[in-house]
Assembly symmetry: C2
DNA sequence: ATCCCATGTGTACGAGCGTACACAACGCAT
DNA sequence: ATGCGTTGTGTACGCTCGTACACATGGGAT
């Protein structure tokens, strides 16, 4: 039996959970599905994560850390260029190609509505993003830009339509005083 | 045995489903929970709605119709007053007191991300609201205002914080050209 | 009055679920 | 080497679920 005393067992389970949630949604996440995806026995997931919610929190937190890094790259600090254009481009890169990440992000948002345990994770993400944006504008505008970006993302995801970067740039620009 | 051949049986089931979804979330919605809430036998819900998704669609569609009416009242047609102020006030009335309606609305969004069958329902709601707003501004601005309102709602719901109407009014005003 | 069929009801089945728990294996301090 | 505590594993229990289906019932066309 290989992989006995696997030092990264816990991490492998988290990674598998992210894959499952990205593929089937949070609803498809169970101890069994994660165990199968991670190729570990059922008892292993229950050992490392006593409750399913604990596993969910760990997975979503790690997923969000990844998103934060991406956003930080797309929003260089020194830039004094057109903030609206930068954000619109960032949204574009986020929404084109593999949308797994975005979908997971909004699933976290909306799942947090019903599960208080997820509230802090969602709040962390918002704070982090707001702080990044606040380097280029005032805090109030930063939060407003985030709100508008959230709304635009939702509209794109829900209508299944395509993303119009120029449209987003125009509207974001209106929010910047 | 009362209520045999209940002509409003189907409607009563839908109403019960809305109550259940509002209380426990869409996740808490099952044939059995709805049947119990509606005080009808299990077989009755499966007869009127072959699949659970069918029931979900019917319930959310009806819930959204209600929201549409409320929004129509809050946004009188003739008004040429301060649109941003009107919207901020509408958001306030929506977010204060019983938040069941708002939560259900965003749960619909969430569910629609993963269930294509719900996509049209969510799209309907957006179209309807956009049409209402377009009576007071241009269509592009209308959609942008909706997006920003969605984002603000999410932030309020997730941070569990209180709603600042003046803050919302200021930001909405920036979007109106 | 009779018959048909939409409607209503109860029960059963198989599956997946979270969780608990007894037991196995192994690193490590002693 | 020996014992112990952490880590890993397999199985079982009780529950809820969606769905299917056989049977009951009664309104309305004939």
């Amino acid at each position: 039996m290989p992989r006995r005393h696997d030092p990264e067992r816990r991490q492998r389970i988290i990674d598998a959970a992210i894959r499952v949630a990205g593929r089937d949604g949070i609803a498809g996440l169970s101890h069994r599905t994660v165990a199968a995806e991670a190729d570990v026995p059922l008892g292993s997931t229950t050992y490392h994560f006593a409750t399913l919610e604990e596993l969910l929190v760990a997975a979503l937190r790690q997923a969000n850390e990844g998103f934060g890094k991406v956003l930080a790259e797309l929003l260089p600090d020194g830039g004094r260029g057109d903030l609206a254009a930068d954000l619109a481009r960032a949204l574009g890169e986020w929404l084109t190609g593999d949308r797994t990440g975005v979908e997971l992000e909004y699933e976290l948002y909306l799942a947090a509505l019903r599960r208080p345990a997820l509230r802090p994770v969602a709040a962390e993400w918002t704070e982090q993003a707001a702080a990044l944006l606040a380097r280029r504008t005032d805090p109030v505008t930063a939060r407003a830009l985030l709100a508008l970006m959230d709304g635009i993302c939702l509209q794109v995801l829900l209508t299944g339509g395509s993303y119009d970067e120029e449209y987003a740039r125009t509207l974001l620009a209106r929010l910047i005083p």
